[in-house]
């Protein structure tokens, strides 16, 4: 515990040998100051914004190494949502009465499957993202909060390509486009914010507990069935249950996509609930992440 003091301010003796003036740094120019307060958090957010270019590079790196950026690679990603859509469609048609058959249900399921695939893949990816970038984390500093975002961005690239097959189905099923399609960017952004919010705590816990992804994958699947993805919100008879489901953040997303693409309706209040939930999770999840982030290097 004993601190041995320096003998004297030694650096004084090498003064003034050149006349070159030193650059004076601004007082505002603190890059680092240890602290946990609100100010530190806002500093962190500013830094995050300044370094946002990294997200594209990190996400692009993963896309490149996974698929070599070709269209076949993306088609491969589509395989699962497409096959699952087929399975669910057949299953639902068997289970429900024949006179209720509605071919557009196929499109309804497909949209939900694509959105869910984006969500689940990014969330599960975010749990491993810290460990996957271990060598970066122990060697260079960058705001680690960018890492979960890379997963969401990577998924967004997939999802964007996935949406391209939707017009094909729209043509086959004779679903015309409408102005409601313009809501898509809003819904996509909402889903993005929501995912980021959830992925922050998950990426911390995923580092602490190595078998968490398996557990979360099952929970997500359960959540999917509890959300109006394979069925519509309107199909639920109980009004109370319907109100309750409005507070499920996934409801807003699935209903929103379905409204924009299929039923030509603008998103309802459930999307606002999703956004509120997402913003809340992003702020508090992000704050939690910044508190845990300094210890990542030690845990790896």
């Amino acid at each position: 515990m004993k601190l041995i003091p320096p003998r004297e301010p030694d650096f004084v003796y090498i003064r003034a040998r050149h006349n070159r003036k030193l650059r004076l740094l601004d007082f505002d120019d603190f890059v680092t100051e240890t602290g946990h307060g609100v100010t530190a958090f806002f500093h962190y957010i500013r830094e995050l914004w300044e370094r946002r270019g990294l997200v594209r590079v990190l996400a692009g790196r993963e896309l490149k190494s996974n698929y070599e950026m070709n269209i076949v690679g993306f088609a491969w990603w589509l395989l699962e949502p497409l096959s699952m859509t087929a399975v669910y469609y057949v299953l639902i048609n068997i289970l429900s009465r024949a006179n209720q058959n509605d071919p557009t249900r196929l499109l309804s399921i497909l949209i939900a499957m694509l959105a869910f695939k984006w969500l689940s893949q990014s969330l599960i990816g975010s749990m491993g993202v810290v460990r996957a970038n271990a060598s970066l984390i122990t060697d260079v500093y960058f705001p680690r909060a960018l890492l979960p975002v890379t997963q969401a961005v990577k998924g967004l690239a997939h999802f964007g390509i996935g949406l391209l097959i939707v017009p094909i189905f729209m043509t086959i099923l004779r679903v015309g486009p409408s102005w409601a399609l313009l809501w898509l960017p809003v819904i996509i952004s909402t889903q993005f914010v929501f995912m980021i919010g959830i992925s922050y705590p998950l990426s911390v816990w995923g580092l602490n507990y190595r078998n968490l992804p398996g557990l979360i994958a099952n929970l997500l699947r359960l959540w999917f069935y509890l959300s109006p993805a394979l069925y519509t919100l309107e199909a639920i008879k109980s009004a109370r249950l319907r109100t309750l489901m409005m507070f499920n953040p996934l409801t807003g997303i699935f209903q929103g996509y379905r409204g924009a693409i299929l039923t030509h309706r603008p998103p309802d209040w459930s999307l606002v609930i999703t956004l509120a939930f997402g913003l809340f999770a992003a702020v508090f999840g992000g704050w939690y992440f910044t508190r845990r982030e300094p210890h990542f290097g030690k845990l790896l």
């Binding site: 004993k2 601190l3 320096p6 301010p9 100051e33 122990t138 260079v140």
Partner: protein, 279 residues
């Protein structure tokens, strides 16, 4: 007037020595929660470390292996956050801890410059501006367009060094990475470092080469088992350090006078530099 570029007070960093090898599982966590197992043993890699590095000066850090030198650099480079104490760094910081951190083996040298530069905190535009200079400094010839996996370790280090020194940091943290490449490149590195020092860059560097400490540093710190054993003039500290090891003092050719040292007005810091007692 002149503020210290690096100010460290009572810094402590602890590691937990975990009995298991990899991260625990969820069920293990639940069991642990129920059973209330004792907290893992902690190990303080750094404790009560306090020092100032005035703007534009070079601080050499010496010490035996495992004394916490590299850990300290990692704390300065913000890779670890201190568990106690405070740390203030003024200015843009860059670290030369591992060269070519995060190089992508499948991308070409050119692409890796972009990637690595962004990681180290350059903007896209800055990288474009400095690209020629980086390529020229690395001096890899046509290999710059070949994938990095085809590089030798020396070439990789050259590219990494080249990108890192082009970050133009105000504070630079250097682990013993200057010993890369062949004699010619080493000389080039030394020249580049000297240029950075001249520009008023504040440097904290770990060195095992005592001669380099004597010739390049303004201050020297001797770390021992995670605490500061001595801070002072390089000559004194190196002498004590070598004495403690039973080694004779080495003669440095030229000493500080051999090198151009930036003008350096840190007299004002003497008031600040009073070391605070550990809480």
């Amino acid at each position: 007037m002149s503020q210290p570029a690096i100010r460290v007070r009572n810094l402590g960093l602890r590691f937990f020595i975990r009995s298991h090898q990899s991260a625990p599982t969820v069920h293990a966590g639940v069991v642990k929660f129920i059973k209330h197992r004792p907290a893992p043993k902690e190990f303080w890699a750094l404790r009560n470390v306090s020092f100032d590095v005035p703007q534009g000066s070079v601080m050499g850090i010496i010490g035996a292996n495992g004394s916490g030198k590299s850990t300290l650099l990692r704390v300065l480079a913000r890779i670890y956050a201190p568990d106690e104490g405070t740390l203030k760094i003024r200015g843009k910081i860059s670290s030369l801890i591992t060269l070519g951190a995060g190089f992508q083996p499948n991308l070409s040298g050119m692409e890796n410059i972009h990637y690595n530069g962004l990681l180290l905190g350059l903007t896209r535009q800055q990288i474009q501006e400095k690209l020629d200079s980086i390529v020229e400094f690395a001096d890899l010839g046509d290999f710059i367009n070949a994938p990095v996996r085809t590089y030798s370790s020396g070439m990789r280090a050259r590219l990494g060094f080249s990108v890192a020194v082009h970050v133009d940091p105000e504070v630079l943290v250097v682990d013993e990475v200057l010993v890369v490449g062949d004699a010619k490149f080493r000389q080039k590195c030394a020249d580049k470092m000297k240029e950075l020092f001249m520009r008023g860059t504040t440097v904290a560097m770990v060195q095992h080469n005592m001669e380099a400490i004597l010739t390049m540093c303004h201050q020297c710190m001797w770390l021992d088992k995670g605490t500061v054993r001595e801070i002072g003039r390089p000559y004194d500290v190196v002498k004590d350090y070598l004495e403690a090891q039973g080694l004779p003092m080495i003669e440095a050719k030229g000493g500080l006078q051999a090198m151009d040292i930036p003008s350096f007005e840190s007299a004002g810091t003497s008031g600040d530099a009073g070391f605070v007692a550990p809480l």
